[in-house]
Amino acid sequence: MRPELERACLRYRLGAPARPLAGRAGDRIGRGTGASLEFMDFRDYVPGDDLRHVDWRSYARTEQYKVRLFREEVSPAAEVIADLSPSMAVTEGKERALRDLVEAFALWIARSGGHPRRLAAGGGRFEDGERVPIGAGVAAGAATGAAAAPAAASTLLPLEPLRPRSVRVLISDFLVEHDSGPDLRRLASGAAELVVVQLLDPWELQPSLDGPTALLDCEDGGRLDVDAAPRIVASYRERLARLGASLEGAARAAGARFARVTAGAPERMFADQLLPQGLVEPAA
């Protein structure tokens, strides 16, 4: 990890999840009872209960065996899913921002006791850094049978099976023509927490056309020749806003937390964008 990125990461931590977590024993409060020191409730003793949890003081007062229940402490599983399609490398800054976000989320999850996995959306291995166009993973998954049926039917789901009750972070630009709602719902299904991050390049938010331009789709090589008319840019921005609103609505509907990030320096992404949107909070 780059020192600059590491320094920025250490200033923040992942925001508290809205729902209790599940997972291996750890230092995060689980959704059920467990072996932490935090008292949660009493219940009647049943044979087999750990005698060390019998509340003897209550028995002295009521002559009834009561067992003290404590909050479960878990070490949650986490998956950081990165869209590695060519569109995420349309500019050098966007590609670097994607890498920074993946590393930052992995670091924040690890520092909170989780066990993050880095996965590639749509197919391929994150470690390989292979650029897989959106949709290619469907054919690859169907051919290998490695992915579950829902994953094989999705363009954003990784091929690897996802752990139940895991924290899932999906980072993509979501600049696809089809509706991302089904993918988000599948990712949210069985997840303890789903975080959706839409990463866009600054030019994608504020495009500028200096004269007639041939736009080349980095995914399928499609070409579109456009004039530099302001109404074209305005029309593009209007459609992008509608796409963002639709995506945010789909994320909310899936119970996910959503954040839109403009590619830039790590400190600016964290402080100016993730922090105001509640995805991270100051470490101190």
Binding site: E204, T213, D227
Partner: protein
């Protein structure tokens, strides 16, 4: 710097063409985007009706311009080094016929060839200019000196006397300040410009010349009129022979002549429709010793009169016409070439109408002075001395040729090939018909009518004269070509009548689709060129020698030699660079 093939420089037009192509090409910046579908509903760039865009100084444009420039310079035969490092010799060659006179030591033309060869050895580049009424380039400009001998191998001086000034001016334009200009002539009296060297290579020779020759038809035969001149240091003798076209000798006459004397010979021949050769004995200049005489065509003018009997009597029309050669009186006005009438009628193309009469009853008598347009052939030879001209006052519908005060008396109106000659004259009150001017005026009108007859006007002409042929009336096809004595074909220029300038001696034929239309015999006749007594040799250095080539120019020449292979290599590099630039741009788009 010089260009071996200046027409190749037309390839330089490729440069603006490339710039224009780049200005109007559909040149789009390329940008890779992730959400192309978000732009899809936007208006596309117009695929047709391209507009001019700002010129992008791309590597491709630069390479294409360099490649086109190199190709143009290659085609143009650019040679920087030759022009800067090699000496340039400009030779002005007297192309007059006297340069071909052969004496005991050869001809001036031979000596001129040797002089050019000697001078060319000291120069790298040579330009040969031939004198003439219109100077021509025999070689050059700035051709390699090795080509000079070849260029002069077939040179035969044959021009009539002319002013060499135009050729000298052209030579001075072609020569740089450091170039040598050499004038080769046989005229020792020529005074060239100060920048020119003079080398007169002539020699005085005796020479006889056939200055004119003409066949005249008689009722009982033909008469040959010939002028023979002699120029030499003493009296000379020559023999004039008349031969048929087949070579049969018809007549021979020996002529004794004093120096400078011209003998006018009149020889009777039997009537013949064949071509005749008239030859003199061999002497120094062969060009002026022979003439081929074609039978003069009959160009009879048919005249019809619509005058009443009294007017015709007063004008003595019948008697006046009878005194003219080549005139036939006809009664059918439609068949006439010249129609004499008392009032203007409808003009017919190809016909001349002579209107003699005074309308109305009012008359003015004019006794002079008469103002005449002397340049016009219709009034040629008129004096109108003692003439009392009675005319009706008023304007004439035409261009006035004879006026008395403000009163026009004779006018001409031309419409196409139709001509109307208006004579405001009351024959009963005038004495013009009794004066010598009347048959002269009638003869002029007849000749005016004869000039509009179809066919060639003259068939035996001299070098430099015009060959004129009028197509028959109603013939709208003017496409024909003149075949010269050496087989050279010269198409007509689509104007009527067909006119060519005779430049070479010999038989010329006008053809249309292989069929002969007319023939002309062109002979050389110029006493100034035939007189070889004043020719001589003289050398004169240039009064203003050419500037010495500076050291800087020599260094520039040795270092600046641009060989064709370097231009070709640069062009190939530019083409390869353009290919790479376009390939890279294509790769960016993928």
């Amino acid at each position: 710097m010089s260009f071996g093939a200046p027409l190749g420089l037309l390839a330089l037009l490729a440069l603006p063409a490339i710039v224009i192509l780049h200005l109007f090409r559909r040149r789009l910046r390329q940008r890779r985007v992730a959400g192309l579908f978000l732009f899809r509903e936007g208006p596309l760039v117009a695929s047709a009706g391209r507009r001019r865009t700002r010129l992008m100084r791309s590597l491709s444009l630069l390479c294409e311009l360099v490649a086109a420039l190199c190709a143009a310079l290659l085609l143009g035969g650019l040679d920087l080094g030759a022009g800067a490092s090699e000496r340039h010799l400009v030779v002005v060659l007297d192309d007059s016929a006297s340069m071909g006179a052969v004496g005991p030591d050869g001809s001036p033309a031979d000596r001129a060839r040797a002089a050019v060869a000697a001078a060319a050895e000291q120069a790298g580049r040579v330009t040969l200019v031939l004198t003439g009424a219109r100077p021509t380039l025999r070689l050059g400009p700035r051709e390699p000196s090795a080509l000079a001998a070849q260029a002069l191998a077939g040179w035969t001086p044959s021009q009539p006397a002319h002013d060499p000034g135009a050729a000298l001016a052209l030579a001075l334009e072609l020569a740089g300040p450091e170039d040598r200009v050499l004038v080769l002539t046989d005229d020792p009296e020529l005074q060239p410009p100060p920048r020119c060297e003079l080398a007169a290579v002539g020699a005085p020779l005796g020479n006889a010349a056939l200055l004119s020759a003409r066949r005249l038809a008689r009722t009982d035969g033909e008469t040959l009129l010939a002028d023979v001149g002699w120029w030499g240091p003493s009296a000379g003798e020559t023999t004039l022979r008349v031969e048929s076209a087949g070579g049969a000798a018809l007549l021979a006459r020996s002529v004794q002549l004093e120096p400078g004397q011209v003998a006018h010979l009149s020889l009777d021949l039997t009537a013949s429709s064949e071509d005749l050769w008239v030859r003199l004995s061999d002497d120094a200049l062969a060009l002026d010793n022979a003439a081929l005489l074609l039978p003069e065509p009959l160009r009879t003018v048919r005249v019809a009169s619509l005058l009443d009997a009294e007017a015709a009597r007063l004008l003595a029309l019948e008697r006046a016409l009878a005194s003219l050669d080549g005139v036939e009186t006809v009664t059918d006005p439609a068949a006439a070439d010249l129609l004499v009438t008392g009032a203007p009628g409808a003009l017919t193309q190809g016909r001349t109408e002579l209107v003699v009469g005074a309308p109305g009853t009012e008359r003015d008598e004019w006794i002079g002075p008469f103002l005449m347009d002397r340049r016009h052939p219709l009034v040629s030879g008129l004096s109108l001395q003692g003439v009392v001209w009675s005319a009706a006052p008023g304007e004439l519908d035409g261009v006035p040729l004879v006026l008395a005060g403000r009163q026009p008396l004779l006018a001409e109106a031309v419409e196409g090939s139709a001509t109307r000659v208006l004579v405001d004259l009351d024959p009963a009150r005038s004495n013009l018909a009794q004066s010598p001017d009347w048959p002269i005026l009638l003869a002029n009108v007849v000749e005016r009518a004869r000039a509009t007859l179809p066919g060639p006007e003259l068939v035996n002409v001299r070098v430099g004269d015009l060959l004129v042929w009028r197509p028959p009336h109603g013939d709208v096809d003017a496409a024909c070509e003149l075949v010269g004595p050496d087989g050279e074909r010269q198409p007509s220029r689509g104007v009527r009548p067909v006119v060519f300038e005779s430049r070479r001696t010999g038989l010329h034929t006008l053809e249309r689709e292989g069929a002969p239309l007319a023939r002309w015999s062109v002979r050389f006749a110029d006493a100034r060129e035939s007189d070889l007594s004043g020719r001589g040799a003289r050398s004169e250095a240039a009064r203003q020698p050419p500037q010495a080539a500076g050291a800087a120019a020599v260094a520039r020449g040795s270092a600046g030699r641009v060989e064709a292979r370097w231009l070709a290599a640069l062009m190939l590099l530019a083409v390869a660079g353009d290919w790479l630039a376009l390939r890279r741009r294509g790769g960016e788009g993928r």
